[in-house]
Each structure stands twice: as structure tokens, then as C-alpha cells.
Symmetry: C2
Subunit: 337 residues, 2 copies
């Protein structure tokens, strides 16, 4: 983003009736939002959270607490408005769009559901590549296209979310593949597995990386071999958002795995990302460090779906209102320090 | 608050379609809100932020970057809706009420202004006691009464805020008086003073404590000798909120000084407090530790006014909606883990 725009936005903030910089993170996000969009008075506009859903072959290794049937069950819950992301998106004034990019279930068309199925889930990466390179590209393109459509429609901010039983395993595999971290350092309890199951999960991910040997210098190789369809969709959304100067709010661990793929492909996209929150999943911090993003919130969340993105969107809107609505020293007749 | 109610609220949260505890802080605040109010389905209701304004004799020692005229100027800014707290309270759906409890200025009556002036500011605590014990009690009573009135009026959550040029100095003095911390460990830059001014501010506060020797076992003595009228009003609001089972969201450093006075008087009031955010002021952490409160947000704020309380109220509302609006596993037909 343009340094001149950043400075102009900060100058506008510095005229507001408050000590310099005293609104901290709100000023940072408002300044960057203005620079991304090229608008020094960015209004609160239409916000959409894209919740990508996909299944995972790795589930057959017993890495998750929940059965894989929960992926389509939760998609139906999203469509009825009863899930966490629905509640929190309503709270922040955002719309939720669910993208079936790889669920092992045939959904009927429904309002709020975008059917872009690339495959009925990934294959088990403990036994081979999760996706073909072509499948990974096709899933990326879904996200890229959704971002372009959102921009064309007048959406002013997008958020990422996901649903996919088993998807902390590919996320841990992705950060382990790119970083020098061991699988153990980046693998956690997902929906709440116990110590024994965690040890097993670590071994499964280690075996998958050993078998597939993804090339960290080829992010598409990492995505295809040990990633997920919803993770690819998110990576595409982040790429598409950056290409369209659309601020993108990235949710927690799994979403950040997608954002990381995008950043490894094109490092400049990191400037368009707002990291919503610090996840309880231990590998999240390493992903954020690699991207160079500081999370806005730390609410001990580990639900995914886009729940953290919904909350962070509310804070970003607050920052935009500070930029637009606060009185200046001159307007208010307040003495400057 | 009642342990049984806390457990009942958590049981309700545990039936929602999400892994156990996966909404972290949102679940904690919702559970405690339910227990405080005795209502397992607490609705989002009327929220009021009380911004107490008062002047400080200590300003004549040159401890602040801004002149004391800024206190009434900012009160007028609040009344016109142009200040940070106005913008953020509107964002969260809260009302701001400004309480003149000790400004050295005669305001005309105005909508949103509550005139309860105890004195035209405190006296300089570097030269003697800031207030008489009677003044401190009268200021506490203002806050206690406002909480009771809010409860009677149907307000469901109150927040604290303040305006008073120079008021980080009494706040640092208060935490130094109660804790074993040195003045240096709890004194910071306020609105943005430089290194030299910070050294001077530390010496002034040290001299004030040396001269007044407030008794840490007598919170009213601490409040009267080195406190402030707006800090006393906030302490009273916290006491009154607890007495009326009204959740109270405490803003940053100065507000927490008031909450600390209340907790030192009656330790059980801490259960009614939601600490909004972690302030940039270094003494804030010691206050929060002493109260036993964990801040919800860390947004590098140091503005006061109630800005952090406004943002935290939005998150608390989000928690209440999770408790009330999310579908259960049974309702959504989702398999439990």
C-alpha cells in the first residue's frame, strides 16, 4: 500500500481531539484501511464473511474429536443462521456466505450457499497427496473469483471463515512445511482431543509430511499435497482481495493457513490482511510471525467459521468511525498539547 | 456471584453447536453476566457510560502536556458528540452521560450533562490533601446514586469513563499507595510527556505521597489525600453497580484507579467488574492484578473517556447473543464430539 496515503490518514487522525496515537490499534487499522482502499474517508460499508467448507481424507486416521458428518451438518446450521459465525456476523452487521468447495455431501441450492465443489473432500494425505495440483488451482480460483465478484458488487471488506472436520491437521502440516518448526511445535488439540489423541495426530502429520515431501519453495505444492480445499479457497480469496484493493479480515488458525499460502505466493498481499485474533491453536503464532501480522484480538477463541473475523470487523468499523466522525481540535475549540 | 448460576450458564453454553469452551472470553463474560444479573438469558439492553469530569490541583506542578482548560473544553466536546467516547459509544449502542463532579468551570445545563459538582477541582496533593474526607465521601455518593438510578431506569450495563487533565498522577499515586510498587514502576507518560517531564512527574508524585502519607488500610484516606473527584465518582459507581447487581465495565488506567478504591473498600465488588482493556499506562497492570481482573481487549489505548469501555460493551453484547441465539446440538441436528 501507498506510504503517502498512510501518512495522510495518520495526519487526519492526529487532528482529532485526542492525544497523538492514543487510540492505538483503532488508528492503525483505520490508517491501513484508508491506504488499501485509497479513500481517506472510508465509510462503513457492506461486509461479507466467506465461510469455505470442505472435508478431509485425513479424518480416517482418527485425528478429530468429531465425525466428518459434522461438516455438512454445520453447513446446514450456517444456512439456518444458528451457528457462532451467524450470531457474531449479525452482531457486526456482516453477511455470511457459505461456500461448498469440497464437502462430501450433496446440498440442495439454498440462499446464502454458493456451490463451487471441486471434489468431495481431499484424499488422506497420510497415504498420498491430498489434492492434485489442478484441484488446488481450481479451488484457489474459486476464492479469487469470489473476491472479484464481491468488489464488483460494492462489498467494502471481506472476511474469511471455514468449516471442515479435521482441518487443523492440514493447517499444522502447512506451517510445519514452510517453517523450521517441528510438527509437535505447531500441532494442538483442534476441537478438544486428549493427550493420547494429540500424540497420534502429531505422528499422522509427521508421516504425511515425510511421505509427500512438499516443497516449501512451491506454495502450490504445499497446498496440493497437505492442504485442504477450504484452505485453498481462503488463499484464493486473500489473493483476490489484495488484487482488488479489498481489505480482508483473516480469522484464526485454519484461515491463516490459507492466508499464509497466499503470502508465500505473493508476499505483498500481507499488506491487505487484517489478522482478526490470536487463536488458542499453538501453531497460529508461527503463521502470524511468518506473515508479519499482529492479531487485533486475543479472546482465547478456537471455533473458526469466521467467528473471530466477525468480531474484528466490528473493531475495524470502530476505527473507520474514529477517522470519519471524531471532531478535530479546531472544530471542537480544544487546545492542543 | 452465585456459583450455581455460573454453572447453569456454562451448561447452557456447552449445549451450543461448538466445541466446549471454544468461544473463550465471550463465554466467560456471558456466564458472569448471567450470574451477576441472575438471568440465564440476559438480553442486550440499555447501556450507559458515565464519563466523570474533574480538575486537579496537581496540574500546577506541570505534570501534564495539556493545559487544564482542556477539561471543560472536552466536556463541551462530549456534549456535542465529537469526542472518541461519543463515536465509540454510538458504535456499541451505548449512551454517554457526562458527570461534572469537579470541573473548574461553570457549565450551563445541557442534555447529557449531569451537574453534581463537589468542588471546582481538587487541591494540589504535592502541597496537602487533594480533598477533605467529606468531599471524597460526597463524590463517592454521587457515583453510588447514579448506579442506583440507572438500575431503577432499566439500564442493564454501565460503563465508566473520565476526563480530567492531570488525572494519571493521582491514579499512579493511588496504586503506589496500595501496592509495594515504587512510583517509578507505576508512572507513565499520560497524554504523551517526554522523558524529562516524566522524571519530574515521578518526583512530584513521590513528594505528594511523602507529604500526605495515605493509609493503605483506609481506602477513603488514600482517595481523599491523593485521589480525584472523578476517581471518587467512578469508585462510587462501581460500588453502586455491585450493590444493584448491575455489570460494570471499567475503562482504562484512571477508571481502574476508581475501581481499585471500590475493591479495597469491599473486595466482593470485583465480581461485578468487567475490565475493558489493557492500557498503555504501565501502572494499569498492577491495578488489574490487585483487583484480580483480566482485561478483555489489548488495543494499545490510552485515551480514557470510556473509549475502551464502549468497545468492551460491544464484545459483552456479542457474548450475550452467543448465549441466547446460538442453536444447540439438538436443535441443529449436529452430532456431538
Amino acid at each position: 500500500v501507498d506510504e503517502t496515503l498512510l501518512a495522510q490518514a495518520q495526519a487526519k487522525l492526529d487532528n482529532k481531539t485526542k492525544p497523538l496515537g492514543s487510540l492505538g490499534t483503532l488508528e492503525e487499522v483505520a490508517r491501513r484501511f484508508a491506504a488499501i482502499t485509497g479513500d481517506l474517508s472510508p465509510q462503513v460499508g457492506k461486509k461479507v464473511i466467506f465461510t469455505f467448507a470442505g472435508d478431509h481424507g485425513i479424518v480416517e486416521e482418527g485425528v478429530s474429536l468429531f465425525p466428518k458428518e459434522v461438516t455438512p451438518q454445520m453447513v446446514l446450521n450456517f444456512l439456518r443462521g444458528g451457528a457462532g459465525v451467524n450470531v457474531l456476523a449479525r452482531h457486526s452487521g456482516a453477511e455470511v456466505r457459505v461456500v461448498d468447495i469440497g464437502v462430501d455431501y450433496d446440498f440442495e441450492p439454498a440462499p446464502g450457499l454458493i456451490i463451487k465443489k471441486i471434489a468431495k473432500g481431499t484424499r488422506n494425505f497420510a497415504k498420498g497427496s491430498a489434492m492434485t495440483r489442478e484441484e488446488a488451482v481450481a479451488a484457489l480460483e474459486v476464492g479469487i473469483e469470489l473476491a472479484a465478484q464481491a468488489k464488483a458488487e460494492g462489498v467494502t471488506m471481506v472476511g474469511t471463515g471455514e468449516m471442515g472436520i479435521g482441518n487443523t491437521s492440514p493447517s499444522s502440516a502447512i506451517i510445519a512445511a514452510f517453517s523450521r518448526c517441528s510438527v509437535r511445535e505447531v500441532t494442538h488439540r483442534g476441537t478438544g482431543i486428549n493427550d493420547g489423541a494429540l500424540e497420534h495426530k502429531i505422528k499422522v502429520i509427521e508421516a504425511g509430511l515425510e511421505l509427500n515431501r512438499p516443497d516449501p519453495n512451491d506454495p502450490l505444492d504445499v497446498l496440493a499435497k497437505v492442504g485442504g480445499l477450504e484452505i485453498a479457497g481462503i488463499a484464493g480469496l486473500v489473493l483476490g482481495a489484495a488484487a482488488n484493493r479489498l481489505p480482508v479480515v483473516v480469522d484464526g488458525f485454519i484461515s491463516t493457513a490459507g492466508a499464509l499460502i497466499a503470502c508465500e505466493m505473493h508476499p505483498c498481499v500481507r499488506e491487505y490482511i487484517f489478522a482478526a485474533h490470536a487463536s488458542v491453536e499453538i501453531g497460529h503464532r508461527m503463521m502470524l510471525e511468518r506473515i508479519g501480522a499482529t492479531p487485533m484480538l486475543d479472546l482465547k477463541l478456537r471455533l473458526g467459521e469466521g467467528t473471530g473475523a466477525a468480531l474484528a470487523m466490528g473493531l475495524i468499523d470502530a476505527g473507520l468511525k474514529v477517522l470519519n466522525e471524531m471532531a478535530t481540535f479546531a472544530e471542537a475549540g480544544v487546545s492542543e498539547g
